[in-house]
């Protein structure tokens, strides 16, 4: 049971990553590799601040800000200096590796015996249950600590997701969505598309970095290598989410991305349980995304063929 709750918790945390990838990849059609670096940036900024005794909510917020800065760099490289979108992301991601080492001062910062959002949630949970450390849920023993962390994270995701949804429906958010959809049109309506892209990538990477900050606080350390392959992970979540909700309505696609992230994490946990070597995880993820990307094309082609026949 503890394993299941852990799976859900990590799925929820990484759904913020999925929301970030959703913004760059789906709204702007911008394959933003920066996320690999900014998730680590969020983790290292938050971890370093926590070690220095900054309050957990403030440290997480700072991580969000650091991510926005990274996204701004990528966006500026692309719009101002006309560097190819993939390359802009790669440049910033590479630079972030060194920056992350500088932020942490070494390659790994443990958060043992440090006050984090996770420990805060556990304390609140224990206070609410008046010291009971576990309860029975449908025949399973559930630890109050695990459950309260999951609740806190789910609440945080619901809150940030709602904020993102509301933002996407403002004048600014709508202009951003239209920028990714049709640049020519949005320019003709008086919107500076370059500003929209920079700002959109900033928000996207802010979400990714926040996800990293929460991940570090949950697992109890920040590591310089923790971001490798995370873009693909986020992409897999977004794709699964789209398959789940099957619509282009903004609100539902956001919910889909969150659900996709949790489901994907669950699938991975099951696969690992069945004996999949953790070393093969990234390979399997990449292959999965490959199939998820080509299957729609394949279906369309076969449908066309049957229509002709």
């Amino acid at each position: 049971m503890s394993l299941l709750i852990g799976t859900f918790t990590i799925g929820c945390i990484l759904s913020l990553l999925a929301l970030g990838v959703f913004i760059s990849f789906r709204i702007f059609a911008f394959p933003d590799i920066t996320a690999d670096g900014s998730i680590t940036l969020g983790a290292s900024v938050a971890a370093t601040l926590l070690v220095h005794g900054v309050s957990p909510p403030l440290a997480s917020l700072a991580a969000f800000g650091a991510g926005m800065l990274a996204g701004t760099c990528t966006g500026t490289l692309h719009t101002r200096f006309k560097i190819n979108s993939l390359l802009s992301g790669i440049l910033v991601m590479t630079a972030l590796y060194s920056i992350n080492l500088h932020v942490m001062g070494r390659s790994n910062v443990p958060l043992l015996s440090v006050n984090t959002l996770a420990t805060q949630a556990e304390r609140i949970g224990l206070r609410l249950t008046r010291g009971v450390t576990s309860f029975n849920l449908a025949g399973w023993d559930v630890s109050v600590r695990d459950a309260s962390v999951l609740c806190a994270i789910a609440l945080a995701v619901a809150l940030t997701g709602t904020l993102l949804y509301l933002f996407l429906r403002t004048n600014l958010g709508m202009a951003m969505r239209a920028t990714g959809d049709n640049v020519q049109m949005i320019r003709a309506l008086g919107v500076n598309d370059a500003t929209m892209i920079v700002f959109g990538l900033a928000i996207s990477n802010g979400f990714v970095a926040l996800s990293g900050a929460l991940l570090a606080q949950y697992q109890g350390f920040a590591d310089v290598g923790m971001g490798i392959g995370m873009v693909v992970w986020g992409l897999a979540s977004v794709i699964i989410g789209e398959a789940l909700v099957g619509t282009t309505q903004v609100g539902l696609t956001l919910v889909g991305a969150v659900m996709g992230s949790v489901l994907f994490r669950l699938m991975v946990a099951v696969a690992l349980r069945w004996g999949l070597s953790p070393n093969d995880l990234k390979l399997i993820t990449a292959v999965f995304v490959f199939f998820a990307l080509i299957v729609p094309q394949f279906l369309r082609k076969s449908r066309l063929r049957s229509a002709h026949a």
């Binding site: 403002t170 004048n171 709508m174 309506l189 282009t248």
Partner: protein, 270 residues
């Protein structure tokens, strides 16, 4: 209203693909005038429209619009003064957004876009009314994504969006060329209605001699990046499609003459 002073534009300059698209074009538009631009392929008529819209900066000359020098204004800044409808029906609308969201975006053309709520219920009744005037039954489908509509419907909505806030200048770039004849006729009727109702200053590029003869109060013919004819007033009113075709034939003959003369000179002297 619009004052274009001897603008020139060369693409790919200094390479073998150099194209001198505009060679000193000047044009002054009175407020409320509707000017039709025709020309052969590659004559620079669409390039001229894009130069006014700010798709690129001109190499020489100046562009003044509504008393302001917009020569160095980027495209998005000029949009405050200009409404545009493109040739491609997919260019003017955002497919994954709903009709209502697209119209809401257009209702803030050139305005600052902040964190205010994007969909205003106060605009809804006006949207229904304006969309129902298109006679396409779209007023009940405001929450549908625009991507699900036909080219004719999208182009009509684009026209509505371009003129939602009264533009100082309306640019129509062969906006019926990609439509079937029936949709094109509908859109032209709608264009006449909108332009005359709001007395819009309009520049319209067209391929259709019929449209060129029957619409507008002034007609400009372009060839090789220059204005070669300018019909105004009674002269424009008398023009028939056949007259325009005759002018095109003239241009074609002159061109052949140029080429054969050049050939003759080359044979004689080189």
């Amino acid at each position: 209203m619009l004052e274009v002073h001897s603008i020139a534009k060369t693409f790919n300059s200094g390479t073998p693909n150099e194209v001198r698209s505009l060679r000193g074009v000047s044009l002054t538009l009175e407020p409320g005038s509707w000017v039709i631009i025709i020309g052969t392929n590659g004559s620079g008529k669409s390039t001229f429209l894009n130069a006014v819209a700010g798709t690129f900066f001109v190499d020489q000359g100046s562009i003044h619009l509504a008393g302001r020098d917009v020569t160095r204004w980027p495209e998005y800044a000029r949009a405050e003064l200009i409404g545009r409808v493109f040739q491609n029906p997919f260019s003017g609308t955002s497919p994954s957004l709903t009709i209502r969201e697209n119209l809401s975006l257009a209702a803030r053309r050139g305005c600052r876009r902040g964190l205010g709520w994007g969909l205003k219920s106060s605009l809804l009744s006006k949207m229904r009314e304006e969309v129902s005037r298109l006679n396409m039954g779209l007023e009940d489908r405001l929450e549908n994504a625009i991507g699900s509509l036909s080219g004719g419907q999208r182009q009509a909505l684009t026209l509505l969006m371009a003129t939602w806030l009264r533009p100082e200048l309306l640019l129509l770039d062969e906006h019926t060329a990609a439509l079937d004849p029936k949709s094109a006729d509908l859109l032209i009727a709608l264009t006449e209605q909108v332009v005359s109702h709001d007395k819009l200053t309009t520049l319209m590029v067209t391929h259709s001699m019929h449209q060129a003869a029957s619409l507008g109060d002034r007609l400009i013919m372009m060839h090789r990046g220059q204005i070669i004819h300018d019909f105004q007033g009674a002269e424009k009113r008398r023009l028939r499609p056949d007259d325009l075709l005759a002018r095109f034939e003239e241009v074609r003959r002159a061109e052949q003459l140029d080429e054969s003369a050049a050939l003759m000179l080359a044979e004689k002297y080189i």
